[in-house]
């Protein structure tokens, strides 16, 4: 699978964040993090504007969880700095933490506690806690308040973690693969709640997931994390508008993929050369196809296609 040299240059170009007038909720500069000798985050620069849903994509082990934990001060960083709500995260800063909702990848705390007792305990510390929302979600998502957390299934625990995270109506919601264990109904219900929350002004969501369909529903900005760095942050609509998959097929096949302007990635499969191209010039593609004696097909890739090609 040949990957062309242009890819890195173009990826750098893509790494420019979308223009925004609002001050970023999260600002990360030169963030570095290693586990033993393995560098997971290699100097990350990232701005997350207020009022957006950010879909954080990356392959397994790309460092998504580590990045999210570093943002919240849950994992010590080796270099760089992180700002949340305009203040550095060198210290948690008191009530600022209550403006954050966090759904971790796994949720298996305090197994001896009953669901209601756990939520009551957490609510006791918050000045703002939406009890009505909590009760409604417990009922809608069939979580028994009298059941012990240790007796809940993984999916039910994830639901509980989501309830706990959104009940304080946080300004920043950080979700680390929150729907991985949810059934389709629960996933849909969760996305509904998330979109409802996003209707309120100034709410920001950072959403790490592999289920790209959810990000498409939320019209998220897509951030791609690869090789310990942010490859790009772009609104989904922009990606849809500008990215095209160009398929050139000819019976004789290809020894190497043709080079075109805006090429991000090229793959040769049998008689087909599949090119992922940004802002392709349709005329030049037709000219290329004619010159090479190939049949041309231009497709709009799905987010999943983009993820598979670029991650």
């Amino acid at each position: 699978m040949p990957v062309l040299d242009q890819e890195s240059t173009l990826a750098t170009d893509l790494a420019r964040p979308p223009s925004t007038d609002t001050a970023p909720v999260v600002r990360v500069r030169a963030l570095r993090k290693s586990f033993k000798k393995r560098e997971v985050l290699c100097g990350i620069d990232w701005d997350v504007p207020a009022g957006r849903v950010i879909g954080l994509l990356g392959r397994n082990g790309a460092g998504k969880t580590t990045l999210l934990r570093c943002l919240l001060g849950l994992s010590p960083i080796d270099g760089g700095n992180v700002e949340l709500f305009g203040e550095p995260m060198t210290e948690p800063g008191g009530e600022r933490m209550h403006r954050i909702g966090f759904v971790p990848q796994t949720f298996d705390l305090f197994p001896w506690m009953k669901v209601r007792a756990y939520l009551d305990f957490t609510a006791a510390f918050y000045a703002n806690w939406n009890h009505a929302l909590t009760d409604r979600l417990l009922a809608d998502w069939q979580l028994d308040p009298k059941q012990k957390i240790g007796e809940l299934s993984q999916g039910q625990r994830q639901k509980l973690a989501i309830v706990r995270a959104i009940a304080p109506e946080p300004d920043l919601l950080v979700l680390d693969e929150p729907v991985a264990s949810l059934d389709p109904q629960a996933r849909r219900a969760f996305m509904g709640e998330l979109l409802e929350l996003m209707r309120q002004p100034g709410k920001t969501v950072i959403f790490s997931t592999h289920i790209t369909a959810d990000l498409e529903r939320a019209e998220a900005d897509i951030t791609l994390l690869r090789d310990g760095a942010i490859q790009f942050t772009r609104p989904l609509a922009e990606l849809r508008q500008r990215m095209r998959r160009v398929v050139l097929s000819r019976p004789g096949g290809w020894t190497e993929a043709p080079v075109v302007a805006g090429l991000l990635k090229a793959t040769v499969k049998g008689g087909e050369a599949q090119l992922l191209v940004e802002d392709p010039s349709v005329e030049s593609l037709h000219a290329l196809a004619e010159r090479e004696g190939a049949e041309l097909r231009i497709e709009t890739p799905t987010l999943e296609d983009l993820f598979v090609e670029l991650a």
Partner: protein, 471 residues
């Protein structure tokens, strides 16, 4: 054959050092028994103990390994049960058949009885490593034998002469193996996890399951755990109600304590002390038949028991690390040091609880052994338990991360505290309660407080860690 080989290797892989030591112990005993004609009968009992002990320990290790191995997922492995049976046959051939044949070749007397006894020992070892209730049954036999030693030796003599003994012992061995395997090969629903910081522990040796091994609890344990959990729920609800009525920093600390230490509320402490009193009383009266115990030893044992809470705290805090991120966000501390301070304040309650436990255990010991100087024991325990608990808590807050380092520190702290208890006991006797007590308080408390203050500072200086422990 590869699968059987892998099964056979399991005890060596999981606890290599102990496996090697046990094998050496067994081998040493076997060689000594083989050389008995040359060495004479003098070394026979020592050799038999080494050989029998080695067999028993080895099969106990196998039992523990199997307990971790026999999970529902393992039964999905192709022919798992058949491979397990072959592995068992291999073990029997090595540990039972081979020595029995060797004894027969060497012309040892009572070969078949010896072979049957080795098999029984292996079955007992296997049962000891897997099911607690089988362990209790075996223990019960020894209790009865100790209760009526004359009758027990008469039965033993009659059994040695009876031709039915060998088939009966074989039957018992088979029954034990069957009971063990039946529970191990049964697929059960996984028990709900308990908090790694919860403390239903009634003895000093009880370890929590590690490496994700599913906990298997008997009916009685489930009932007791439910009692403890009930106290936790009530304590939490009451703390929440009081906090809602009048929020304050003190009540907030109580709430955090109720969350972190669910089984360290007044009701649970009383329940634990009661259960320990019942078990210890039964042990001393029924099992040890009220033998003469040295009061100072009993007092030091009370200190050891009260300090046994802290190693569990150290392990539990490490296991809780990833989950405490939620508490961190909930507490919303101003600084990281504030958060660490909140944890310290919550955990500090263990010191008075530990002192209270030491006093209760000592008082129990005083009653059971009819100690001649109860006041001296109690005063000594009260003075020594506080600094010892402070030191134990301190080393578990900032001590080594590794299991070996922690174990070494535990041993040093526990033995050190016991030695200080004995020293204090002597001091109170030599200088009197007033002067001896004062000297003891000054020496022990100054040491304990110094260690505690230093550890507290260091803990607050360190950033909180929410990463899962790597081990």
């Amino acid at each position: 054959m590869k699968a059987v080989w892998q099964l056979w290797l399991q005890p060596c892989r999981q606890t290599t050092l102990i496996a090697v030591l046990v094998q050496l112990m067994w081998l040493g005993g076997a060689v000594a028994l083989g050389l008995m004609p040359a060495m004479g009968n003098a070394a026979a009992s020592g050799a038999a103990i080494l050989f029998g002990g080695g067999t028993w320990l080895w099969f106990m290790m196998i039992g523990q390994c199997l307990r971790g191995l026999c999970r529902p997922e393992s039964f999905l492995l192709p022919d798992f049960r058949r491979h397990l049976a072959w592995g068992g046959a291999l073990e029997l051939a090595q540990w039972v058949l081979l020595p029995t044949l060797a004894a027969a070749v060497l012309g040892a007397p009572h070969v078949w009885l010896a072979g049957t006894l080795i098999l029984l020992l292996a079955a007992i070892g296997l049962a000891s490593g897997t099911e607690r209730y089988i362990n209790l049954m075996i223990w019960g036999v020894f209790v009865l034998a100790g209760w009526k030693p004359g009758l027990a030796s008469q039965i033993a003599r009659a059994a040695a002469a009876s031709p039915l003994t060998i088939p009966l012992l074989l039957l018992v061995a088979v029954l034990l193996v069957r009971l063990t395997l039946r529970s191990m090969l049964r697929i059960e629903d996984r028990e709900a996890d308990v908090s790694p910081l919860s403390n239903t522990q009634l003895g000093r040796s009880r370890m929590r399951p590690v490496d994700g091994r599913p906990a298997r609890r008997g009916k009685l344990t489930k009932v007791i755990t439910a009692w403890f959990d009930g106290t936790s729920q009530r304590a939490m609800e009451s703390a929440l109600a009081r906090y809602r009525q009048r929020p304050s920093w003190r009540l907030r600390a109580v709430l955090v304590r109720r969350l972190l230490l669910p089984h360290d509320n007044p009701q649970a402490i009383a329940l634990r002390l009661l259960l320990v009193a019942v078990i210890v009383s039964f042990y001393v009266i029924a099992v040890m038949h009220r033998q003469r115990f040295n009061a100072e030893i009993v007092g030091a044992y009370a200190i050891l028991l009260c300090l046994s809470r802290f190693p569990q705290l150290g392990r539990g805090m490490r296991r809780m690390q990833p989950n405490l991120a939620d508490l961190y966000l909930t507490l919303a501390p101003q600084t990281r040091a504030d958060y660490q301070k909140t944890l310290i304040d919550a955990l500090l309650i263990l010191v008075p609880i530990s002192v209270l436990s030491a006093l209760a255990y000592t008082a129990l010991g005083v009653v059971l052994v009819h100690a001649t100087e109860p006041a001296r024991m109690l005063v000594d325990a009260a003075i020594v338990a506080a600094p010892a608990s402070l030191v134990a808590l301190a080393v578990h807050l900032i001590g080594p991360e590794g299991t070996l380092g922690r174990s070494l520190v535990d041993i040093v702290v526990t033995l050190g505290a016991m030695a200080v208890y004995w020293g204090g006991y002597w001091l109170l006797g030599a200088l009197g309660f007033a002067l001896g007590g004062l000297v003891l308080v000054i020496v022990t408390m100054s040491f304990g407080l110094t260690v505690w203050v230093a550890a507290q500072r260091e803990y607050q200086r360190r950033p909180p860690c929410f990463d899962a422990p790597l081990t």
